[in-house]
Subunit: 98 residues, 2 copies
Amino acid sequence: MLGKITDYRMCEQVAAVLKTLAHAQRLSILCKLYRKEMTVGELEAGCGISQPQVSQHLTRMRLEGIVESKRDGNHVYYSISDPQIRVLLESFEKVFKV
Amino acid sequence: MLGKITDYRMCEQVAAVLKTLAHAQRLSILCKLYRKEMTVGELEAGCGISQPQVSQHLTRMRLEGIVESKRDGNHVYYSISDPQIRVLLESFEKVFKV
DNA sequence: GAGGTATATTAAAATATCTTTATATTATTA
DNA sequence: TAATAATATAAAGATATTTTAATATACCTC
C-alpha cells in the first residue's frame, strides 16, 4: 500500500475491512471478543447494544469472515476467526494509547 | 481498548478516525502523502480522482487534523500532520501484506 | 407439544455519506 | 487589469448505512 500503490484495488480492499471496523458498536463487540468467546446475550449486556443490533453486527461480521459462531444449546458463542483482525485491534490499542 | 474497555467512548473515538480511513479514495490519497507532500493537482492525477473530490477529502482530513496544507504560489501542498496516521498506515501495510 | 429463553431475520424509517455539477476564490502572468 | 491556472466551496441528487420495531426460528424444559 505504501511501497507500491500502483494498486487502487488494494486501497479498496483495505477500506472495505476498515468500513466494518469503523463503527463504535462493532468495534466494542470485537474488543470484547478479543479476550474470549461470548454469547449474543453477553455481548448485548456487556456492550449495551440491543439484541437485534448485536445479532445484525455479528451476522455481518460472520459473513465477512471476521468472526465465527458455534451453537451450544440455545446459546450461540461468537469468537474472532480472522487473526488479521486481532493484529489490527492491537495496532489500534497502541496507536490510540488505550 | 482491549485491556480496559470500560470505555465505549474510546471505541467511538477510534471508530471516528477509522471512518475517515475507510474510504478507498481517502486511503489512496494518504498513501501517496505517506511518501511526500503533494499538491491537489498531483493527487488528482496520481489517484485518478476528480478535483472537487480530492479537495473535499483533503478539507475533511485537514479539519480532522490528519493532514495539513501550505500554499506556495497558486499550488497548495498537503502532507500528513498526524504521526498516528502514519503508524496506522504502516499497520495496514503489514496486516494486509501489501 | 406448550411455554419460555436465546438468537435471527425482515422491512421500514431515519440518517449519513458520496458523487456530481456548477460556481467561487486565490494567485499568477501577460 | 484581463485572462488563466489551481484550489475551494456549495448544493442537489444518488446511495448506502444505521436504527428501530415487529416477527420468526431454534432449542430447551416441563
